[in-house]
Symmetry: C2
Amino acid sequence: MNTRPTLEAVAERAGVSRGTVSRVINDSPRVSARTRETVLAVVEELGYVPNHAARTLVTRRTDTVALVVSESEERVFTEPFFAGVLRGIGTALSAAGLQLLLAMAQSAAERARLERYLAGHHVDGVLMLSQHDHDTLPALVTRLRLPLVLGGHRQRALVYVDVDNVGGAHQAVAYLAASGRRAIATITGSPDMRAGRDRLTGYRDGLEEAGLALDDGLVGTGDFGPESAARAMGDLLDQRPDLDAVFAASDPMALEAVRVLRSRGRRVPEDVAVIGFDDSDLARHADPPLTTVHQPVERMGQEMARLLIAQMNGMPVPRPVVLPAHLEVRGTA
Amino acid sequence: MNTRPTLEAVAERAGVSRGTVSRVINDSPRVSARTRETVLAVVEELGYVPNHAARTLVTRRTDTVALVVSESEERVFTEPFFAGVLRGIGTALSAAGLQLLLAMAQSAAERARLERYLAGHHVDGVLMLSQHDHDTLPALVTRLRLPLVLGGHRQRALVYVDVDNVGGAHQAVAYLAASGRRAIATITGSPDMRAGRDRLTGYRDGLEEAGLALDDGLVGTGDFGPESAARAMGDLLDQRPDLDAVFAASDPMALEAVRVLRSRGRRVPEDVAVIGFDDSDLARHADPPLTTVHQPVERMGQEMARLLIAQMNGMPVPRPVVLPAHLEVRGTA
DNA sequence: CTACGCTGTGAGAGCGCTCACACAGAGAAA
DNA sequence: TTTCTCTGTGTGAGCGCTCTCACAGCGTAG
């Protein structure tokens, strides 16, 4: 097996023409059962595998999809978000016979290379994981007429799959209110990220529904990271020492809040209840385990793939999908 | 720009032949400066991008490398290991102008598909992340004469990049001994995984070097997961209530050990020092932050890519690389 | 002045496949 | 019988590129 067998070789050995073998390989109905059987036997015997490049050259389909993680978004690679989404995408693509190309554009040079790559139409579609509001890549991809699906982020006029951040935050606050908490504070995520803003909106909705007044003294600004949460939690306690609950827009922030609360002599959850967001490993392994809002990450990956495949098959541009989040009650609330 | 420009189009517009344009694109020295300039201008003007499939068809190179994550190894996707390795691989491949294809074979069907894919020589090389001792994929890849590099795992006669688990564990124990601990226990990883065995070896080496006796009563068997650690820690305390330090083979196990120790009335680190392994997010965000052994994950990814590229360029099969780990001293020891 | 390099360029073949079309043969309708 | 389906198969072109070979033009040596 010095040289890999071609269609031609299979055809000759099976005593048919190239075209017929091609038809068998591609499951064309216009082949007799007898012939199909013979050909498949020879395919098996010679270990024939179609040459992807040759096929792509004529069909103009690559059967490959790019997953673009734009910029150096450390946060994207965070457990369990990235891993879960990846798994979902992988499963769905694999079932459809598609390959996944992972493109991380961290530096400007890599980014330029990526743009050229996409411009070369080396993939049939693009999945993007991005948090930033202003990324020029989606526009480029659209201009290239490549099917595109965004994940974990929304952008007008584009197809995206996102989690219901508003609803998730709402649920968390509703739960706190239902357990009798009356001074419910929040530590927000970055205001320039959609997820951060949405979670704040959900917080407000929750308060409103519970008939609790919105108090700016109960809103601390964070950026999803723990350092910002330490500061915010301290400020909140200074302003409202009577607070009895905190909803943080991320798990690391919630954990940090727990730490600060304890160092200030509050018991969690007895004196102050705490809820996070993301349901990361951190939450599950914390002591006590953190009550947090769970996102269906794997499902999100699957939906992304599904919407992309639909577009690749020429179906009308699908509607964006927003997946529900749910509260995972553990030890801190 | 209905149809994408071809070499032919560039050639015509530049008033040269297809061959000459090809030479310019491929940086052949046999082109006059004048011609090169003209051609490049036209390339720019028309936005020409070479057709990858056509090129692959004749050169038999795909400029693509597969990263195979075999079986449903949840653990592989764990922070920061996978993310770090991935980043390292991405950077190195990108610099070499190579694409990264991510292949996750979770089910038997996906696995079969993957094998067929690799058999089709659709990639120029394979990187594998695997923990299991008995995986048949490396043998298959080798049989296909595809360059291969294993990561985080060792296998005789194959090229791999691994972390010095023995040395890392050794360091941890040496540190404990140096701070005056005398009854140093360990909670091991899975005995059927190389990393687990190596960390146990390092523990023994450390004890020996410090002149401490090896006591089976101080060795608890775990499987890297927290549940196993809870059990092991309990048993250890029953057998040796005098123990004053624990080296756990993973961060989740170390964290669980801390919890059990506290529930049994021990203070950490005052009464019992604890050290983990991996330097995960968990470790950094624990309270107090966990002292643990750090692995150079990003570097590991880069090395994997480097060794693979060397093989792809026809260089002699490189030697395996073992990267050093180092102790990250934080709050628990 | 002829012969021989050497450099830069062009022409042609062919990589392995799909797809449109041609066409042979069997059966049904005229 | 002839004609017209219909089914199954073969044939040829061509996807966009690289690579080998041929060769024109020039300088340099014999």
